[in-house]
Symmetry: C2
Subunit: 235 residues, 2 copies
């Protein structure tokens, strides 16, 4: 196909199309890759080729690399010097580590809760309901998403930006682990009702008991994930 000598206008049009929102190109590329990684479209261990992605995404290598950096610091990609970026393969130590921090944050947040009211718990109700609905439909992907949202909203009750951010990273990494293991989705089932139970305890203002239940909950979840991991040596 013939091209005009001056293609400057093409770039400006392309820019207009892409930057309709208020974020940089790198951030949008990162957002795109993030969803791909979290959805499991890119299996752990996959190498993300710069050349290839530049071709597909129509961004420059520099911009792509900036997106890589963003995701690397979220733990969704790992960067090996002179080798490229990969979707991380979490091992058992990582799982234990993830759950360690998770217990620390979530349980402590719950334990320190006070002055709860129905309004603040509303987002939790929504997440639990979404989970139950998804479970009824047998849509375990959606159930997993709802579960993540439940826990994110749970820590959000603390009202701390940094706790929210730390938790978001944590849950994203954990999601990665789920895909790595291809865990039987039925394993998610008990947590739908346990989320409900947890929410009931919070509604009743029983924070200490809720914290204890959450602790056991997370221990069980960790144990099951580890078992699934051992039963599923390498995909």
């Amino acid at each position: 196909m013939p091209e005009s000598a001056d293609t400057t206008w093409l770039r400006t049009v392309a820019h207009e199309v892409r930057s309709f929102d208020r974020s940089s190109t790198a951030e949008r590329v990162a957002e795109l890759l993030r969803s791909r990684v979290i959805e499991g479209d890119l299996p752990p261990g996959t190498r993300l080729s710069e050349e290839q992605l530049v071709e597909v995404l129509h961004v420059s290598r520099n911009t792509l690399r900036e997106a890589f950096r963003l995701l690397t610091h979220e733990g969704l990609l790992v960067h090996r010097l002179h080798r490229g970026v990969f979707v991380p393969e979490l091992d058992e130590d990582d799982l234990v580590d993830l759950y360690r921090l998770r217990r620390t944050i979530e349980c402590d947040v719950v334990r320190r809760l006070e002055g709860l009211d129905a309004v603040r718990l509303r987002p939790l109700h929504a997440a639990v309901a979404a989970g139950e609905d998804a479970a009824r439909r047998g849509d375990w992907g959606a159930a997993g998403t709802a579960n993540m949202r439940f826990h994110q909203q749970l820590v959000a009750l603390a009202g701390s930006r940094r706790i929210d951010e730390t938790t978001a990273r944590l849950l994203a990494e954990l999601r990665l682990a789920f895909h790595a293991i291809a865990v039987p989705q039925r394993l998610h089932e008990p947590y739908v009702s346990r989320n409900r139970a947890l929410l009931d305890l919070l509604t009743a203002g029983e924070v200490e008991q809720a914290a204890k239940e959450l602790e056991a909950y997370l221990h069980d979840s960790e144990a099951e994930l580890l078992a699934a991991h051992r039963a599923h040596p390498r995909s």
Copy 2:
């Protein structure tokens, strides 16, 4: 000064000099800027000009921007689209937020400790001793550093990579706040002995009591910092 037509060899020599260690140029630039920020050489609110730093550091804008990203994700710089990167100015909300997460992590780590022995506590002893020594000399900068190390080593007892990383970010940001406020260094004095007391409790295996003391400790520290902040409206 005259230059030869071909300066390629210059770049390769320069690269050899700079990359003697096993990290990328961006990481080394980040390390340099990190220390400047943490030491307080760059006051909060300072804008870091790309043009200027490229000139001084002899790296390309791309590499510099990669370093910026690194530090941005550590909370040591903030990035405003189309405006540049700045040394953050933490406000009271940030202080509260920082201490909120700090209490969560540090107290929980201490509370869950078990199987402590002298060997594992050794790094803590070293940090406490360093703090006491610095205090005797009246070197409050060193005392602050020792204090940071004490708390970093404290959470390190949990043996969790992610807890370590989260804490490192936390403490770095906090350090920023100290400089922002130009807090009277005398305020650091009581914490030297409180660190010692904390360590004694741990040595005795009294983790629950240690956690309670740490909680009070952090509350006091937060209160003093907030008071200092209010007394020091804007520098």
